[in-house]
């Protein structure tokens, strides 16, 4: 995977929802998504979608994140609020149908309503076959997107793993105890 180019990874089924999605003036959401989807479909040996079929697909997936149709023809993320940008990321995910979705601090900068909508969108895509890696510092998101596994990373390494209860433990105890555990383990 690490040897592949970004577009190849996308075609293989990996999706990254950015923490700070970039604005792309002059390139419409619709236009680029259609090009992206067709690029992935071509890679998978599927027929490319024409404008009509693509529009149908878009309209269907828009519902996942309660996206306004007016945002479709706007340039990608241009003038979007923080919440709209994050919802747009999930919208892209819904359209591109990845096997592994990485959500990078999707909750950062979101108010409770936006958080709810984004989480509903993500949850509707949990079909038991698709995998999600949700990166966050806070419990709040995990109340909506309830994880199956929790891994704690310290200095880039997985330091502790557990079920969703581990997240609650962290919320009440903080991270220091894990770092202490590592230090103690190293000493032993």
């Amino acid at each position: 995977l690490l040897e592949l180019k970004p577009e190849e990874r996308a075609c293989e089924g990996i999706f990254l929802a950015f923490q700070y999605p970039v604005e792309i003036p002059g390139v419409s959401n619709t236009y680029f998504l259609k090009a992206a989807l067709n690029s992935i479909r071509k890679y998978r040996g599927l027929e490319e979608l024409d404008a009509m079929d693509f529009l149908k697909l878009m309209r269907e997936r828009m519902k996942f994140v309660e996206m306004d149709e007016t945002l479709l023809n706007r340039p990608v993320n241009q003038g979007f609020s923080g919440g709209e940008k994050k919802r747009n990321e999930i919208f892209h995910m819904a359209v591109l149908d990845p096997k592994l979705a990485i959500l990078d601090e999707t909750d950062s900068g979101l108010d409770i309503d936006a958080l709810r909508i984004v989480s509903t969108g993500v949850n509707s895509l949990r079909d038991g076959k698709r995998s999600f890696i949700v990166v966050t510092h806070y419990q709040r998101l995990l109340n909506y997107i309830v994880p199956d596994f929790v891994h704690v990373l310290v200095d880039g390494r997985i330091a502790k793993s557990g079920g969703k209860e581990l997240a609650f433990e962290l919320e009440s105890k903080g991270y220091q105890w894990i770092e202490d555990e590592i230090a103690a383990g190293a000493g032993a």
Binding site: F18, V22, P25, F32, I40
Partner: protein
């Protein structure tokens, strides 16, 4: 040695003038105008890199080529066929076509015009409306500052004359098409346009310049555009000369009060080209927009000099130029804003953004602000750069290849200017042209 060559070149034009003795239709005032112009040319001589106005653009290729004055001739059947590629599908409106600087009525299209409006060739207008022409021709652009403008006034054969009476609107766009055909020897044409708009009048005019052969030729064009109070003009200039051609275009714009003027200059062609656009805002509450897009590759050189002169208070001007340069192309953008002492409450914005797609492409960008009033808002900005890497990466993470991502972003960059074109057939034609040019990751 070079100095002798330059004097030779100047002498060549002077003796050509004596020999050809351009047509005056028996109008002595026109003869005087020409004589005055050629005399000024004699004084000025052809420019070199030592002249301040030409410091960044080497016109030796033009000055050292012996150009023959292009004569009127028909297009070959191949050329007529090739001309079809330049058609704006679905365009409706009056069209005047000039071949090698001479009006070609065969290709022109006359649409219905409101009473009193005139859209004709300049040579015809000199015959039919001599007083009107005499009063305005050559009265706005100075012959004593630029040798090439002086040459145009001395040698001009034809061009367009557009006159729109007070309170009149021409709803369909007017297209002035200047075509240069193939030739065995290098040729020069001097198209001259005069556009006069009455109070409260409205129109849309597009000038296109194109070549059909692969010969060396020189288009030396001058347009004088005058708007009376409250007139509204959308003016487009599209330059698609061929690869070995030279194109110099001077546009002098004179605006009265409460006018709305927009010029969009789109440049694709010519080995060496320059637009000199000078707008004088000579009435209050007037708005002037100068937008441009220049796209160059190989060893093309594109020069844009704009001069926005705020002579009266409460006017707004806005300039947005974008350049896309690839291979060894080079460009110059020199934007001069002059705010005279009376021009309080001026609001002037200027911006030039260049996208460099190769390591060898180069842009020389120089804003000049000369401000004599103290209650004004003037901003200028220039950015030169590559395509934003974050945007390329973002598109790639969605499955779009690096090349396709670069094409999309380059197209989007250009589209900010193209998207402003209000004539649908023209905009669509250019969107398609740009899309074709930016495939495969480079121009």
């Amino acid at each position: 040695m070079a100095q002798v060559q330059l004097t030779d070149a100047k002498e060549r034009y002077l003796s050509d003038f004596e020999r050809i003795s351009p047509e005056n239709n028996g109008r002595s005032w026109l003869g005087e105008l020409r004589k005055g112009a050629i005399a000024k040319f004699g004084e000025l001589g052809l420019p070199t890199l030592r002249d301040e106005q030409w410091r960044q653009t080497n016109v030796a290729a033009i000055t050292q080529t012996a150009f023959k004055s292009a004569d009127a001739r028909d297009l070959t059947s191949d050329e007529a066929e090739r001309l079809k590629n330049y058609v704006f599908a679905g365009f409706e409106g009056t069209r005047l076509v000039f071949v090698n600087g001479h009006h070609w009525p065969k290709e022109s299209v006359a649409a219905e015009l409101p009473k009193g409006a005139i859209v004709s060739s300049l040579s015809e207008a000199i015959r039919n409306h001599p007083d009107l022409i005499q009063r305005h021709l050559g009265q706005y652009i100075a012959d004593d500052k630029d040798a090439f403008v002086a040459l145009n006034t001395a040698f001009m054969q034809d061009g367009a004359f557009i006159y729109i009476p007070d309170g009149t609107e021409i709803t369909k766009p007017i297209h002035l098409r200047f075509v240069t055909s193939g030739s065995d020897e290098p040729e020069v044409s001097h198209p001259r346009n005069l556009i006069l708009m009455g109070t409260g009048s409205r129109a849309t005019i597009i000038e296109t310049y194109l070549g059909l052969g692969d010969n060396v030729y020189f288009t030396n064009a001058v347009s004088e555009i005058v708007l009376a109070e409250r007139a509204v003009l959308d003016h487009y200039k599209l330059q698609r000369e061929t690869a070995k051609a030279y194109h110099l275009g001077a546009i002098q714009i004179h605006l009265g009060g409460e006018c709305k003027f927009a010029n969009h200059a789109i440049t694709f062609g010519a080995a060496l080209s320059r637009n000199d656009i000078h707008a004088v805002l000579d009435g209050e509450e007037t708005e002037c927009t100068l937008n441009g897009l220049y796209v160059a590759t190989d060893k093309q050189h594109v020069d844009t000099h704009t001069k926005l002169e705020h002579a009266k208070p409460h006017c707004r001007s806005h300039q947005l130029y974008k350049g896309i340069l690839d291979a060894h192309a080079s460009a110059v953008f020199n934007g001069w804003i002059l705010v005279r002492p009376d021009a309080q409450k001026t609001d002037a914005i200027q911006s030039n953004r260049a996208l460099l797609l190769s390591d060898d492409a180069a842009i020389n960008t120089q804003p000049q602000l000369e401000i004599y009033a103290d209650d004004v808002k003037c901003t200028h900005g220039a950015t030169v750069g590559e395509l934003p890497r974050d945007s390329i990466f973002y598109l790639r993470t969605r499955g779009i290849s690096a090349d396709e991502a670069r094409d999309m972003l380059t197209y989007a960059f250009a589209n900010e200017i193209i998207g402003e074109i209000k004539i649908d057939p023209v905009r669509e034609h250019l969107e398609h042209l740009i899309w074709e040019r930016f495939r495969h990751g480079h121009v």
